[in-house]
Every structure is written in structure tokens, then in C-alpha cells.
């Protein structure tokens, strides 16, 4: 066991899987010699050579299109998009090509790959280094969306994603890259894709979150406990495919739900979870489903701490659903 930060766990997963599987190749802007702007690939080019850790030209659609071609021809690419805010030039390749290939070719061609990208606010990154746009990608059939919230899951989920036969968008909460540490086994292990985790059991209110909002919810649960609200916190870990059972089981127990995400409210993934609960567990509900989210504004710079959900805003929503 080693005590690693989240970004170190990402690097450890890449290192581990590259040593085990010669098909695994990394590509992206600054991932080689420089080891990535967040150092997620530090030292990997030295270890595995320029053929397996490639500095590419500065073009996101090129990075993903290149990865698709390499995957079709037998490799297992892990392209990096330096910030999720820069992913849109590659949107067409991801949505119309990577995600559709298995289906449109009748299963003849597949392109398993893991698109790693740091996402989310809280680092003073302004509009173009802070967004959290998982909903665009969760809306795309053929793509899996995985988001870890701690170092152990980061390594296990990343290895599971690399071994998955389908393309995965792997969103890394950059706000947690160095702010959380945890025990991470040295060997290769996997955390199953599509399985949420109850990270705090509770009986009164279900808090549902992913990525950097998981620690926010855990803090909120601490604020609520002395006020008589025992919160259960679910870390979804995977948005697609969604672990509906874990959500519904918790809702049937608590009858009260607060969904927390960084992204703007309208059409955020919280809306999908809310709809799911309405469809499948409406008679278990004791209060309306609440969402604590980013605002329907572009992501701000100076006031980002106001934009982002924090433990107090979550606790206020818990108060509303318990006192409904």
C-alpha cells in the first residue's frame, strides 16, 4: 500500500497497466516529455518510450481521431484532453465516431479507449478551465462515463476502464488531484464500472453526487447530523451505465433525496436521476427531489466559490427536504 494523491493514483494506474499490456498507448498535448500539465503521466515516456507515450500536435479532434484509428488497429489508447473545457473540437469524433463505431458497423469494428480529462471548478481556472459537462456525454449512446472521487477508486476505475471493451470518458476531478490522499494498493486491481458506492450510510436523506461533490456531500452530512438529519451519501462513480439499484434502494429507505452536481442545473445529469426516481420510486418519496447545482450561467472566475455547491448549500437543501 502507498499513500497517494488522486493524480498519483491516476499515474500509478497508467504505469501499472502499461507494464501489463503492451497495447496501451498514451497520447495528448504535453503528456510525453513534460509528463502532462498536471503530471498525471510524469516519467511514463521515459519508462515506456516515445512510441507509447506520444506528444501530439495541438488538436483535440486529431487526438481522438488518431486514438480511434489506433484502437481499430489493435492498440488500447488512453488519449488525454488537457482540460475538459477543450474537448469540444473533438466532440464530433467522440459522439459521431468513437461512440457509434460498434453499432454502425454491426459489431465489426470496435474502438475501446479511455479518454482521460480533468474537469470541474474550484482551482481558480475561470471559464475555460473549470467546467463540468458530463451531461453532454452521458447523452451519447455508446460511451461510458466514469468519474472517481478518491485515489483508490481512481486507480481501480481507470484500470477497469482500460480493460473495458467500450470507449470510456474518464473525468478526473482536478480540484481533488492533490487535495485528497488515500491508501492505494501497489498491484493492479479494478473497481467495477457501473457500480455506485454508499460512502456514508444514513437513514433520513439520500445525497447523490460524483467526483468533487462527494467530499462536499460528506461535509454536508456532518453539518446535518447534529441537526437530526442522518444523511446517506452515494458516490455514483459511473454515470453511464448508471447503478439504478443502489440509488433506488437508498431512496426507498430514506424517502428524501438531494442531488448535488457542479454543472449547471438545466439538463444536468441530476435531472436524469430525478426522473429515474420519479419513474421507479415515487411512492417512497416523502418530499420533492431537490437539486443543488452550479448555476445556469457560464462558469465565473472571481465568484466561483459562490457558483459551486458547498456543504452549507447542500445542508440547506437537506433542511428543506426534512422539513417538507
Amino acid at each position: 500500500m502507498a499513500n497517494l494523491t488522486l493524480v498519483q493514483a491516476v499515474r500509478d494506474a497508467l504505469m501499472t497497466e502499461m507494464a501489463l499490456d503492451p497495447r496501451v498507448v498514451l497520447m495528448g498535448e504535453d503528456v510525453g516529455l513534460n509528463g502532462g500539465v498536471f503530471r498525471a503521466t510524469e516519467g511514463l515516456q521515459k519508462e515506456f518510450g516515445e512510441g507509447r507515450v506520444m506528444d501530439t500536435p495541438l488538436a483535440e479532434s486529431g487526438i481522438i481521431g488518431l486514438a480511434l484509428g489506433m484502437s481499430v488497429n489493435g492498440m488500447r489508447p488512453v488519449p488525454e484532453i488537457q482540460f475538459m473545457d477543450f474537448i469540444y473540437p473533438a466532440f464530433d469524433q467522440i459522439v459521431s465516431e468513437v461512440a457509434k463505431l460498434r453499432y454502425r458497423s454491426g459489431g465489426g469494428f470496435t474502438c475501446p479507449m479511455v479518454i482521460r480529462t480533468p474537469y470541474g471548478g474550484g482551482i481558480k481556472g475561470g471559464h475555460y478551465h473549470s467546467q463540468s459537462t458530463e451531461a453532454y456525454f452521458a447523452h451519447t449512446a455508446g460511451l461510458k462515463v466514469v468519474i472517481p472521487s478518491n485515489p483508490y477508486d481512481a486507480k481501480g476505475l481507470l484500470i477497469a476502464s482500460i480493460r473495458d471493451e467500450d470507449p470510456v470518458l474518464f473525468m478526473e476531478p482536478k480540484r481533488l488531484y492533490r487535495s485528497v490522499k488515500g491508501e492505494v494498493p501497489e498491484e493492479a486491481y479494478t473497481v467495477e464500472i457501473g457500480k455506485a458506492q454508499v460512502v456514508r450510510p444514513g437513514k433520513d436523506v439520500t445525497l447523490i453526487a460524483w467526483g468533487a461533490m462527494v467530499p462536499v456531500c460528506l461535509k454536508a452530512a456532518e453539518l446535518c447530523e447534529p441537526r437530526g438529519a442522518d444523511c446517506e451519501v452515494i458516490d455514483l462513480r459511473t454515470l453511464v451505465p448508471l447503478d439504478e439499484e443502489t440509488i433506488l434502494e437508498s431512496v426507498r429507505k430514506t424517502g428524501r433525496v438531494v442531488i448535488v452536481h457542479e454543472a449547471q442545473k438545466t439538463c444536468g445529469f441530476g435531472a436524469e436521476i430525478s426522473a429515474l426516481i420519479s419513474e421507479e420510486a415515487i411512492l417512497s418519496l416523502e418530499a420533492p427531489i431537490m437539486r443543488v447545482t452550479g448555476l445556469d450561467t457560464p462558469f465565473p472566475y472571481t465568484l466561483e466559490h459562490i457558483y459551486l455547491p458547498d456543504p452549507e448549500r447542500v445542508a440547506l437543501a437537506v433542511g428543506k427536504v426534512t422539513q417538507f
Binding site: V72, G107, P241
Partner: protein
């Protein structure tokens, strides 16, 4: 040849007869369809006849595809009339293991590689025996066992993907190359630019075939770009480029063969601009008389690539009318048989809607599938009652 012709602006080419073709294009056949022996590729009789056969097969397939659409038997078709030399000439320079990333106007490339006519036709109907299981519009073929990549509708997406496939081969020290096809319109797309940028920077074994057929649906090439020649773009990406007469199969073959040889030697990518005119509509939904210059069309009609190659073969005493009749009869019969068989295939089973989204059905897809199948059971029951819902 590549180096020489990439600078061909300076070189004077003396033509025996005036041509609608741009003067800088590399050519083997002159306007009287006589070969320039200095650059004529040395191909065996078998190879030449195979190329000719594939050209005819492609023309007949296109004619049949358009006819089937006009008869209302299939929904849509994209013909490649006039572009047979480009498709067959490039294909002839490839080995069976080389990767092909086509656009949607390359039936001849599929035919040359040996794709099954029956399976191609099944794609036109989107039926049970369609390799794509009826999930794409007609002409979006995909043959993974032949390394013929799945056709996409968005333009030029395949260009950068071909670079990736060839990079994988290069990194594994294999000798396979990748060839990719796109039109003049495709050169305006982002993925053309990223594709050639990456290939130039990474020196990948990729051959870029730009079929400059004069139009992107209705928009003429001169409105597509300020560049006078598509091949000039090669310079900016740091690779050699050559413009060829796209209606001269021998020129197309020779240019491609040289590019393939360079790629296999590890000397990187090449851009080949094949200059031609799209002689058919963009698709069965298009009427080119709305925008096409009739005089230019007539001039190109006199340069039909099949007729030109036929004259070349006849000049070598390799072909005559009798052989032509026999070949057409044979290919038409084969095609008719395949059409008859393909048209009888049933539509895909409803279960196939849910397959291949992921390697395995997700819980959500399982539930949607069960719900859809249950709804199917209830279909038609609204007609028999005006009271309770048929739940």
C-alpha cells in the same frame, strides 16, 4: 515522379489535343488515349484486365443502385460515375492487408478489395444480412475482415482515423499502410487538417486520396477554397503531393504505387489529388442540372475513364467488343442474382436494435428492450376498443 510533379507548375506539358483537364496533372494517357511510354506502369495482362473488370463492375453496380432507388426498391443511393479510375487505380496499388478508410463514394474500392456484392446490396436494403444490421443509410458499408473501415456520413472524419491506424502499424514495425479517401469539399473540414498535420508530424505511412470532382454537392471547388490546386496544401503539412488525371487509371495507379512504396519504406505520407468531374448526382436525392455547367460536363463526358482505359487495352490487343459483351453479360447476371437474393432478405430482428451499443447490454438497455417488446405485443389493440387502455 512525386517530387517532379509537385513542382509541375514550372514544367510545360505539351498536349496533343486541348483538354478540360488542368495542365499540371500527371498523366500516362494523352487526350487520344495513347500512353506515354516513359511513365507507363509495367503491369501484367492479368492485372490490367482485373482492373478493367473492376471498373465495369463498379459502373454496373452504380447503375443498378440508382435504378433500384428510382424504382422505389431502396431508399437512397450515392453513385460514383466517372470516378472509377480513381477507385480502381488506387486499389490496385494496395496489398490486401493495407487499411482502407473510404468516404461514401467508393463502391469500386469495396469491389476491388473483394467485398461480397450480396452483402453490399444487403446494406442498400438495411436488411438482416446487412453487415451493419440495418443501422445506417445505404452505401455505408463496413467490412472489418477486409480492413475496409466503416463509412461515416460526416465529412472527412476518416482522414485522421486512417492516420491512427497507420501509426499503430508503424509503431509495431509492420509494413501495412493506410489509404483514405475524401473529396474536394472534405479538404475544408477540420479532420482533413488534423489528419495531414498529424501524418506530417508523425511521418505515418498514410496515403491521402483527394477526389477533386469539382463539387461538394452543389458548391464548386473554386468556392470551397482560395487554393488553386488541392495538392498545394501538401506543402503546408510537410509532405509530398501530386496532382493526377483522375480519369486516367494508369496515372492514378502509378502515383499511388509510388506513394505506397514511399510509405512502406518509412518515408511518410503523400497527398494525391485526383482531378475529375462528378458525372452523376451527389446522391439519388440531388439534381445536378441545377448547378452544373453543361459544357464542362460534356467535355468531361468525352474523357470517360472506362472508355479511355478500354482504348488503351484495345491498343495492346488485350480487349475487343466480343470480350466486352461477354464480361458485361457475366457481371450483369451475377449482379442480378445477388439483387434478387438480397431483396428477399427480411428486415433485422427487433432485438438487434439493442445490440452493439456496448459490448454487453446495460441495465438501462435491458429494461428498454423489455418495454419495447412488451409494447409490440400490444400494438394494434387500440383499434378494437374505445374504452380501457390495452395495458
Amino acid at each position: 515522379m512525386l517530387e517532379k510533379h509537385s513542382k509541375s507548375k514550372k514544367k510545360k506539358i505539351v498536349l496533343k489535343a486541348p483538354s478540360v483537364l488542368r495542365a499540371d496533372c500527371f498523366r500516362v494517357l494523352d487526350e487520344s488515349n495513347r500512353p506515354n511510354e516513359k511513365v507507363e506502369p509495367k503491369l501484367s495482362k492479368e492485372v490490367l484486365l482485373k482492373m478493367y473488370r473492376n471498373m465495369i463492375a463498379t459502373r454496373l453496380f452504380d447503375e443498378r443502385g440508382m435504378l433500384l432507388q428510382r424504382q422505389g426498391r431502396i431508399g437512397f443511393y450515392v453513385p460514383s460515375f466517372g470516378q472509377e479510375a480513381i477507385q480502381i487505380g488506387t486499389s490496385a496499388a494496395l496489398k490486401q492487408n493495407d487499411w482502407i478508410f473510404p468516404s461514401y463514394r467508393e463502391p469500386g474500392v469495396f469491389i476491388s478489395r473483394g467485398a461480397s456484392l450480396f452483402e453490399m446490396l444487403c446494406n442498400l436494403w438495411g436488411n438482416q444480412s446487412d453487415v451493419c444490421k440495418g443501422r445506417q443509410m445505404p452505401v455505408h458499408y463496413s467490412f472489418s475482415d477486409l480492413r475496409l473501415f466503416s463509412v461515416s456520413s460526416p465529412i472527412a472524419t476518416q482522414v485522421i482515423q486512417a492516420v491512427g491506424a497507420s501509426l499503430a502499424s508503424k509503431n509495431r514495425k509492420e509494413k501495412d499502410v493506410a489509404i483514405t479517401y475524401f473529396g474536394d469539399g472534405g479538404t475544408s473540414e477540420n479532420d482533413f487538417h488534423t489528419g495531414l498535420t498529424f501524418a506530417g508530424a508523425m511521418k505515418t505511412p498514410t496515403i491521402f486520396i483527394c477526389t477533386n470532382n469539382g463539387y461538394a454537392i452543389s458548391v464548386p471547388t473554386q468556392k470551397q477554397t482560395g487554393a488553386h490546386r488541392m495538392v498545394d496544401k501538401a506543402i503546408g503539412y510537410g509532405m509530398p503531393g501530386v496532382a493526377v488525371d483522375g480519369n486516367d487509371i494508369l496515372a492514378v495507379y502509378a502515383a499511388t504505387q509510388e506513394a505506397v512504396d514511399r510509405a512502406r519504406r518509412g518515408e511518410g505520407p503523400t497527398l494525391i489529388e485526383c482531378v475529375t468531374l462528378r458525372m452523376g448526382p451527389h446522391s439519388s436525392s440531388d439534381d445536378p442540372t441545377r448547378y452544373r455547367d453543361a459544357q464542362v460536363y460534356e467535355a468531361w463526358a468525352k474523357r470517360d475513364p472506362i472508355q479511355r482505359f478500354r482504348q488503351y487495352l484495345e491498343g495492346k490487343k488485350l480487349w475487343d467488343s466480343k470480350k466486352q459483351e461477354a464480361l458485361e453479360a457475366e457481371l450483369k447476371a451475377t449482379l442480378a442474382e445477388a439483387v434478387e437474393k438480397a431483396e428477399k432478405e427480411p428486415v433485422p430482428n427487433l432485438d438487434t436494435l439493442f445490440e452493439d451499443v456496448y459490448a454487453e447490454l446495460t441495465p438501462q438497455l435491458k429494461r428498454q428492450k423489455a418495454q419495447l417488446l412488451a409494447e409490440q405485443e400490444l400494438r394494434g389493440k387500440f383499434e378494437n376498443t374505445s374504452e380501457a387502455f390495452p395495458l
